[in-house]
Amino acid sequence: MLILHCPYCGVDAEETELHAGGQAHLTRETVGSDDEAFEDYLFMRENPKGVHFERWRHASGCGKWFHAARCTTTLEVFGTYSAQTTAPPREICDAISGKRPGWSWKTFSARMFS
Protein backbone atom coordinates (compact mmCIF):
# COMPACT_ATOMS: atom_id res chain seq x y z
CA MET A 1 0.00 0.00 0.00
CA LEU A 2 1.38 3.33 -1.07
CA ILE A 3 1.28 6.11 1.53
CA LEU A 4 1.94 9.64 0.29
CA HIS A 5 2.27 12.78 2.37
CA CYS A 6 0.01 15.50 0.97
CA PRO A 7 2.12 18.67 0.91
CA TYR A 8 -1.02 20.83 1.03
CA CYS A 9 -3.03 19.53 3.96
CA GLY A 10 -0.23 17.63 5.69
CA VAL A 11 -2.10 14.32 5.86
CA ASP A 12 -0.30 11.02 5.30
CA ALA A 13 -2.83 9.65 2.89
CA GLU A 14 -2.96 6.10 1.71
CA GLU A 15 -3.57 5.07 -1.85
CA THR A 16 -7.33 4.62 -1.58
CA GLU A 17 -7.75 8.26 -0.58
CA LEU A 18 -5.79 9.42 -3.61
CA HIS A 19 -6.29 9.51 -7.34
CA ALA A 20 -3.36 8.77 -9.64
CA GLY A 21 -2.76 11.44 -12.26
CA GLY A 22 -0.09 9.83 -14.40
CA GLN A 23 3.35 11.06 -15.36
CA ALA A 24 4.51 14.41 -13.98
CA HIS A 25 6.28 17.32 -15.63
CA LEU A 26 4.72 17.09 -19.07
CA THR A 27 5.15 20.08 -21.31
CA ARG A 28 1.87 20.90 -22.93
CA GLU A 29 2.41 21.27 -26.65
CA THR A 30 -0.22 23.44 -28.22
CA VAL A 31 -0.75 25.91 -31.07
CA GLY A 32 2.51 26.34 -32.95
CA SER A 33 4.04 23.02 -31.91
CA ASP A 34 5.18 20.68 -34.63
CA ASP A 35 3.40 17.38 -35.12
CA GLU A 36 6.10 15.25 -33.55
CA ALA A 37 6.21 17.26 -30.33
CA PHE A 38 2.43 17.21 -30.15
CA GLU A 39 2.32 13.44 -30.68
CA ASP A 40 4.90 13.00 -27.91
CA TYR A 41 2.86 15.16 -25.58
CA LEU A 42 -0.33 13.28 -26.33
CA PHE A 43 0.86 9.69 -26.40
CA MET A 44 4.39 9.12 -25.21
CA ARG A 45 4.92 8.41 -21.51
CA GLU A 46 7.82 7.20 -19.41
CA ASN A 47 7.52 3.69 -18.02
CA PRO A 48 10.66 3.40 -15.95
CA LYS A 49 11.85 0.60 -13.72
CA GLY A 50 13.06 2.66 -10.79
CA VAL A 51 12.81 6.39 -10.13
CA HIS A 52 9.57 7.92 -11.38
CA PHE A 53 7.77 11.24 -11.03
CA GLU A 54 4.00 11.25 -10.88
CA ARG A 55 1.03 13.48 -10.28
CA TRP A 56 -1.45 12.55 -7.60
CA ARG A 57 -4.64 14.16 -6.35
CA HIS A 58 -5.76 14.02 -2.74
CA ALA A 59 -9.24 13.20 -4.03
CA SER A 60 -11.02 12.22 -0.82
CA GLY A 61 -9.15 14.79 1.24
CA CYS A 62 -8.26 18.40 0.50
CA GLY A 63 -8.73 17.87 -3.24
CA LYS A 64 -5.33 19.28 -4.24
CA TRP A 65 -3.02 17.98 -6.94
CA PHE A 66 0.60 17.37 -5.97
CA HIS A 67 3.75 15.67 -7.24
CA ALA A 68 5.37 12.53 -5.92
CA ALA A 69 8.79 11.00 -6.58
CA ARG A 70 8.93 7.28 -5.98
CA CYS A 71 10.52 4.03 -7.07
CA THR A 72 8.35 1.81 -9.25
CA THR A 73 10.12 -1.38 -8.24
CA THR A 74 10.23 -1.01 -4.45
CA LEU A 75 7.32 1.47 -3.97
CA GLU A 76 9.72 3.54 -1.89
CA VAL A 77 8.59 7.16 -1.77
CA PHE A 78 11.39 9.73 -2.03
CA GLY A 79 9.14 12.68 -1.35
CA THR A 80 6.12 14.72 -2.39
CA TYR A 81 6.11 18.34 -3.47
CA SER A 82 4.02 21.20 -4.75
CA ALA A 83 2.12 21.02 -8.02
CA GLN A 84 3.16 24.59 -8.86
CA THR A 85 6.49 23.64 -10.39
CA THR A 86 7.81 22.35 -13.72
CA ALA A 87 10.76 20.44 -12.24
CA PRO A 88 11.39 18.53 -9.02
CA PRO A 89 12.87 20.75 -6.29
CA ARG A 90 16.43 20.32 -5.17
CA GLU A 91 15.64 18.56 -1.87
CA ILE A 92 13.68 15.89 -3.72
CA CYS A 93 16.51 15.32 -6.21
CA ASP A 94 19.00 15.17 -3.33
CA ALA A 95 16.85 12.62 -1.52
CA ILE A 96 16.75 10.45 -4.64
CA SER A 97 20.50 10.85 -5.21
CA GLY A 98 21.11 9.65 -1.65
CA LYS A 99 19.30 6.40 -2.37
CA ARG A 100 19.71 5.89 -6.12
CA PRO A 101 23.08 7.45 -7.04
CA GLY A 102 23.35 8.20 -10.74
CA TRP A 103 19.59 8.18 -11.35
CA SER A 104 18.08 9.94 -14.33
CA TRP A 105 14.57 10.52 -15.60
CA LYS A 106 13.95 12.30 -18.89
CA THR A 107 15.92 15.53 -18.63
CA PHE A 108 16.28 15.33 -14.84
CA SER A 109 19.20 13.54 -13.26
CA ALA A 110 21.46 13.25 -10.24
CA ARG A 111 23.91 15.53 -12.07
CA MET A 112 21.51 18.48 -12.05
CA PHE A 113 22.64 19.70 -8.66
CA SER A 114 26.11 18.26 -8.43
Binding site: Y8, C9, G10, V11, A13, E14, T16, E17, S60, G61, C62, G63, K64
Partner: protein
Protein backbone atom coordinates in the same frame (compact mmCIF):
# COMPACT_ATOMS: atom_id res chain seq x y z
CA UNK B 1 -36.49 21.64 3.70
CA UNK B 2 -38.13 18.86 5.66
CA UNK B 3 -36.94 15.32 6.07
CA UNK B 4 -39.86 13.22 4.86
CA UNK B 5 -38.87 9.97 6.50
CA UNK B 6 -37.63 11.33 9.80
CA UNK B 7 -34.12 11.15 11.15
CA UNK B 8 -32.25 7.85 11.04
CA UNK B 9 -30.94 6.30 14.21
CA UNK B 10 -29.52 3.02 15.39
CA UNK B 11 -28.07 1.72 18.64
CA UNK B 12 -25.17 -0.67 18.69
CA UNK B 13 -22.10 -0.39 20.89
CA UNK B 14 -22.03 3.12 19.47
CA UNK B 15 -25.24 5.05 18.80
CA UNK B 16 -25.58 6.45 15.27
CA UNK B 17 -27.93 9.39 14.97
CA UNK B 18 -28.70 11.56 11.99
CA UNK B 19 -28.91 15.17 13.11
CA UNK B 20 -31.34 17.76 11.74
CA UNK B 21 -30.07 19.86 8.83
CA UNK B 22 -27.32 22.24 9.76
CA UNK B 23 -26.43 25.42 7.94
CA UNK B 24 -23.17 24.89 6.07
CA UNK B 25 -21.31 27.40 3.94
CA UNK B 26 -18.23 26.47 1.97
CA UNK B 27 -15.90 29.46 1.94
CA UNK B 28 -12.87 29.46 -0.33
CA UNK B 29 -10.32 32.22 -0.20
CA UNK B 30 -7.16 33.36 1.54
CA UNK B 31 -7.47 31.86 5.03
CA UNK B 32 -4.90 34.29 6.40
CA UNK B 33 -7.04 37.30 5.42
CA UNK B 34 -8.35 39.16 8.45
CA UNK B 35 -11.76 39.83 6.88
CA UNK B 36 -12.32 36.13 6.16
CA UNK B 37 -11.27 35.12 9.66
CA UNK B 38 -13.41 37.81 11.22
CA UNK B 39 -16.58 36.94 9.37
CA UNK B 40 -16.11 33.22 10.07
CA UNK B 41 -15.43 33.64 13.77
CA UNK B 42 -18.11 36.33 14.05
CA UNK B 43 -20.83 34.14 12.57
CA UNK B 44 -19.87 30.92 14.35
CA UNK B 45 -18.65 32.29 17.67
CA UNK B 46 -15.69 29.86 17.79
CA UNK B 47 -11.96 30.35 17.32
CA UNK B 48 -10.55 30.05 13.83
CA UNK B 49 -9.19 26.49 13.43
CA UNK B 50 -5.65 25.59 12.49
CA UNK B 51 -4.84 23.08 9.77
CA UNK B 52 -6.82 19.80 10.09
CA UNK B 53 -8.89 21.12 12.97
CA UNK B 54 -12.53 21.81 13.60
CA UNK B 55 -13.94 24.05 16.31
CA UNK B 56 -17.61 23.41 16.80
CA UNK B 57 -20.06 24.18 19.59
CA UNK B 58 -23.62 23.00 19.04
CA UNK B 59 -24.61 23.93 15.48
CA UNK B 60 -21.94 26.60 15.17
CA UNK B 61 -18.45 25.88 14.04
CA UNK B 62 -15.63 26.19 11.55
CA UNK B 63 -13.85 23.24 9.96
CA UNK B 64 -10.54 23.51 8.10
CA UNK B 65 -11.12 21.74 4.79
CA UNK B 66 -8.02 22.65 2.75
CA UNK B 67 -5.34 25.37 2.78
CA UNK B 68 -7.78 27.65 0.96
CA UNK B 69 -11.14 26.36 2.18
CA UNK B 70 -13.21 26.28 5.34
CA UNK B 71 -16.64 24.93 6.15
CA UNK B 72 -18.62 27.44 8.15
CA UNK B 73 -21.43 25.91 10.20
CA UNK B 74 -24.38 27.85 11.59
CA UNK B 75 -27.97 27.03 12.53
CA UNK B 76 -29.96 26.22 9.42
CA UNK B 77 -32.45 29.07 9.82
CA UNK B 78 -29.74 31.73 9.85
CA UNK B 79 -28.27 30.76 6.47
CA UNK B 80 -29.69 33.72 4.47
CA UNK B 81 -28.34 36.20 7.04
CA UNK B 82 -24.99 34.44 7.20
CA UNK B 83 -24.60 34.37 3.42
CA UNK B 84 -25.44 38.07 3.25
CA UNK B 85 -22.90 38.86 5.93
CA UNK B 86 -20.16 36.85 4.21
CA UNK B 87 -20.89 38.60 0.92
CA UNK B 88 -20.87 42.04 2.54
CA UNK B 89 -17.65 41.45 4.47
CA UNK B 90 -15.66 39.86 1.66
CA UNK B 91 -16.91 42.13 -1.10
CA UNK B 92 -14.09 43.04 -3.47
CA UNK B 93 -11.87 40.16 -2.31
CA UNK B 94 -11.08 36.99 -4.22
CA UNK B 95 -13.34 34.45 -2.55
CA UNK B 96 -16.16 32.00 -3.07
CA UNK B 97 -19.03 31.24 -0.70
CA UNK B 98 -21.60 28.55 -1.41
CA UNK B 99 -24.55 27.44 0.69
CA UNK B 100 -24.14 23.66 0.78
CA UNK B 101 -26.52 23.00 3.69
CA UNK B 102 -29.00 20.96 1.73
CA UNK B 103 -26.29 18.93 0.02
CA UNK B 104 -25.09 17.48 3.29
CA UNK B 105 -26.15 15.07 5.98
CA UNK B 106 -24.68 15.14 9.44
CA UNK B 107 -24.46 12.20 11.83
CA UNK B 108 -23.58 12.06 15.49
CA UNK B 109 -21.84 8.98 16.83
CA UNK B 110 -21.84 8.45 20.55
CA UNK B 111 -20.28 5.75 22.65
CA UNK B 112 -16.97 4.68 24.14
CA UNK B 113 -16.05 2.83 20.94
CA UNK B 114 -16.56 5.78 18.64
CA UNK B 115 -12.94 5.75 17.43
CA UNK B 116 -13.26 2.11 16.54
CA UNK B 117 -16.41 2.50 14.48
CA UNK B 118 -14.78 5.20 12.35
CA UNK B 119 -11.48 3.33 12.12
CA UNK B 120 -13.29 0.31 10.68
CA UNK B 121 -14.43 2.42 7.74
CA UNK B 122 -11.87 5.15 7.08
CA UNK B 123 -8.13 4.94 6.27
CA UNK B 124 -7.27 7.14 9.22
CA UNK B 125 -5.20 6.60 12.36
CA UNK B 126 -7.62 7.33 15.17
CA UNK B 127 -5.25 6.66 18.07
CA UNK B 128 -6.00 9.22 20.82
CA UNK B 129 -2.54 10.81 20.64
CA UNK B 130 -2.72 11.12 16.84
CA UNK B 131 -6.36 12.14 16.50
CA UNK B 132 -7.35 14.14 19.58
CA UNK B 133 -10.73 15.86 20.01
CA UNK B 134 -10.95 18.91 17.70
CA UNK B 135 -8.82 17.15 15.05
CA UNK B 136 -10.68 17.10 11.75
CA UNK B 137 -10.27 14.76 8.83
CA UNK B 138 -11.68 14.88 5.36
CA UNK B 139 -11.42 11.40 3.90
CA UNK B 140 -13.51 8.53 2.62
CA UNK B 141 -15.87 6.31 4.57
CA UNK B 142 -16.29 2.96 2.87
CA UNK B 143 -16.69 4.02 -0.73
CA UNK B 144 -17.82 7.63 -0.35
CA UNK B 145 -16.27 10.95 0.74
CA UNK B 146 -16.92 12.03 4.32
CA UNK B 147 -15.43 14.22 7.01
CA UNK B 148 -15.48 13.86 10.77
CA UNK B 149 -14.19 15.26 14.00
CA UNK B 150 -14.37 14.23 17.63
CA UNK B 151 -16.28 16.50 20.00
CA UNK B 152 -14.82 14.51 22.87
CA UNK B 153 -13.48 10.99 23.33
CA UNK B 154 -17.00 9.52 23.21
CA UNK B 155 -18.69 11.65 20.59
CA UNK B 156 -18.00 12.33 16.94
CA UNK B 157 -19.79 14.29 14.27
CA UNK B 158 -19.59 13.10 10.69
CA UNK B 159 -20.72 14.80 7.51
CA UNK B 160 -21.33 13.25 4.11
CA UNK B 161 -23.19 14.05 0.94
CA UNK B 162 -26.93 13.83 1.35
CA UNK B 163 -27.26 11.55 -1.65
CA UNK B 164 -25.32 8.83 0.19
CA UNK B 165 -27.09 9.22 3.55
CA UNK B 166 -28.56 5.74 3.58
CA UNK B 167 -25.27 4.10 2.56
CA UNK B 168 -23.31 5.92 5.25
CA UNK B 169 -25.95 5.18 7.86
CA UNK B 170 -25.92 1.50 6.89
CA UNK B 171 -22.14 1.06 7.06
CA UNK B 172 -21.92 2.99 10.35
CA UNK B 173 -24.70 0.88 11.82
CA UNK B 174 -23.00 -2.28 10.61
CA UNK B 175 -19.64 -1.20 12.05
CA UNK B 176 -21.31 -0.31 15.37
CA UNK B 177 -23.53 -3.33 15.88
CA UNK B 178 -23.40 -4.87 19.32
CA UNK B 179 -20.63 -7.30 20.30
CA UNK B 180 -18.34 -6.37 17.45
CA UNK B 181 -15.87 -4.27 19.43
CA UNK B 182 -12.25 -4.90 18.59
CA UNK B 183 -11.15 -2.85 21.61
CA UNK B 184 -8.05 -1.68 19.79
CA UNK B 185 -7.85 1.86 21.16
Amino acid sequence: MSEVQGLLRSDGFVAVRQLPLRGMITVKGDLSATALKNVATGLSGVDFPGPRECNCVGDNGIAWMAPDEILLMVTHATIPDAMAKVAATLQGQHYLAADVSDARTIFELEGAGVREVIAKLAPVDLAPDVFPPSAFRRTRLGQVPAAFWLKDNQTAELICFRSVTQYVFDILTHAARANTQVSYF
